[in-house]
């Protein structure tokens, strides 16, 4: 609170008791500050002059005068006029009766005036109360308008926040999709790398040989199957070219043949361009097998070969 604000609040009596006591300590030591405060308080006190006068009840005067010991001034006696003396002289009792009638009428008039005064006072009181109600109503209206403005501002902020949340949500969704795609790509690359490493391991073995497996059925004459293997190893690489693509419910399956035994091995499908590579694992060295065959089987492969026979079949040299 600045000194100017302190002076203003002190002048209108708005400082708390403690604040006022502290301010008055400053005031005591500063004639300059006292002069500033005097003008400020005079301005505030002038507000008292702005209040509408209101007549109190007649009883108040009696109470005040009783407390101060000041007697209420008695009503001045009616002055005797020459006319009434003359009437009293002329008409005696009649004049007294007329005077009595006038007194009754006068009392009635005074009562009526008293009632009128009270009614005016009551009206003034109502006016004052009405004025206060208007002030309170103005306050309430201002407060309502202010609250409405604050509510509108809050709604705007909420709408903006919701828009930001929606935008962030969309960004998050996009980032999540990109992350998923990136994870898939990483997985794909990782698998490709692993496959390449396996293939490289096969091709890096000592005494690697290549066996070309001929087509056994005419429909596959344009295709080529090659087997890269070392006789003493248990893993080999099969490459395929120009194989016709299969429907999703079918697959190519490798068979290792030893005598009458047809041992099921890996299954594979080719790319759309008809190529494929596959590392085949065996429990025994490849020198233990006589032939290798390829069949078309239901997706997932089978434990026994297709009765229609192999599409490729050839010896291991």
């Amino acid at each position: 609170m600045t000194l100017d604000e302190q002076i203003a609040l002190y002048a209108i009596g708005a400082l708390d008791e403690q604040e006022r006591a502290e301010f008055e300590r400053q005031l005591a030591g500063s004639p300059e500050l006292r002069a500033r405060v005097a003008e400020e308080r005079a301005a505030a006190a002038a507000l008292m002059l702005s209040v509408e006068p209101v007549a109190p009840s007649p009883a108040l005067k009696q109470k005040v005068m009783a407390r101060t010991g000041a007697p209420i001034r008695p009503a001045e006696p009616p002055r005797s006029s020459g006319l009434s003396d003359w009437l009293r002289y002329l008409f005696g009792g009649l004049a007294v009766a007329c005077a009595s009638l006038a007194l009754v009428l006068g009392v009635g008039l005074l009562n009526a005036q008293s009632q009128l005064t009270q009614q005016r006072a009551y009206n003034a009181q109502l006016q004052s109360q009405l004025q206060e109600v208007r002030v309170q109503l103005d306050l309430a209206r201002d407060r309502t308008a202010q609250l409405e403005r604050e509510l509108a501002a809050a709604q705007d902020r909420l709408a903006q926040a919701e828009q930001r949340v929606q935008a962030l949500q969309a960004d998050a969704d996009q980032a999540r999709a990109e992350l998923t795609a990136a994870q898939s790509e990483v997985e794909r690359v990782r698998n490709a790398l692993a496959a390449a490493e396996n293939e490289l391991a096969v091709l890096s073995q000592r005494d690697v040989r290549v066996a070309s497996i001929p087509a056994f059925k005419d429909d596959f004459r344009q295709g080529a199957i090659s087997l890269f293997y070392a006789p003493d190893a248990t893993t080999a690489l099969i490459t395929a070219h120009n194989l016709p693509p299969l429907s999703p419910d079918r697959t190519y399956q490798v068979w290792l043949i030893k005598g009458d035994q047809r041992l099921p091995s890996e299954v594979f499908n080719t790319s759309p361009d008809g190529t494929g590579r596959l590392v085949v694992k065996s429990d025994e060295p490849f020198s233990a097998f006589d032939n290798i065959g390829i069949t078309v089987e239901p997706a997932g492969g089978r434990p026994t070969p297709n009765p229609d026979g192999p599409i490729f079949l050839g010896p291991l040299g």
Partner: protein, 188 residues
């Protein structure tokens, strides 16, 4: 009444000598304004009448202390007493309000407070004061009136108006500056 033409200062000089007719003239002259102020502040006729009664009793008791020679403003003195009594009554009614520690102090305080009316503002006609007040911006007028007529502290005003304390301080300052300016314009 023959004494009606006497000035306020002359009446108080007579009151100081214990002349009760002067007190009665002064009462008739200002009771409506005193009661209007008390009623405005208390909103209750009975309490307002009690305050006006007390105020006039203090004028009667303190008339000898009033500085007639310095041309003190009698009406302002009376209204200041009414205002002070009303503020004290309001604060007694409100819970959790620390009472004015000077409540029982010497009533010379009121005499001194009335000195503020030696300033020219005390001589402005009532209708001109009303004109100045009516020109105050609403929020400034409310802060001043809530404090001056309702006896609220700045914290209570901030709470009632739902405004930050700093805003109330600022409005009070701006309101008072504006009021002084308007009163000076009315003087001119």
């Amino acid at each position: 009444m023959a004494q009606q033409h006497l000035s306020d200062q002359e009446l108080v000089a007579h009151i100081a000598r214990g002349e009760r007719w002067a007190f009665e003239v002064l009462y008739e002259r200002y009771v409506a304004q005193a009661f209007g102020l008390a009623l405005r502040m208390m909103q209750d006729r009975a309490t307002a009448e009690d305050i006006v009664q007390e105020a006039f009793c203090r004028v009667w008791q303190r008339a000898t202390h009033f500085n007639v020679q310095a041309g003190g403003n009698v009406r302002a003195w009376l209204l200041t007493i009414v205002h002070r009594l009303a503020i004290d009554t309001q604060r007694k009614r409100r819970p959790n309000v620390e009472m004015d520690a000077r409540e029982d102090a010497d009533w010379e305080l009121e005499d001194r407070e009335a000195d503020v009316f030696e300033h020219a503002f005390a001589n402005i006609a009532t209708d001109r004061v009303r004109a100045a007040v009516s020109q105050l911006p609403e929020r400034h007028r409310k802060v001043i009136e809530l404090s001056f007529f309702w006896g609220l502290t700045h914290r209570e005003i901030a709470e009632q108006l739902g405004e930050p304390l700093g805003t109330v301080h600022s409005w009070a300052l701006q309101g008072m500056n504006r009021l002084k300016l308007l009163l000076r314009q009315q003087l001119n």
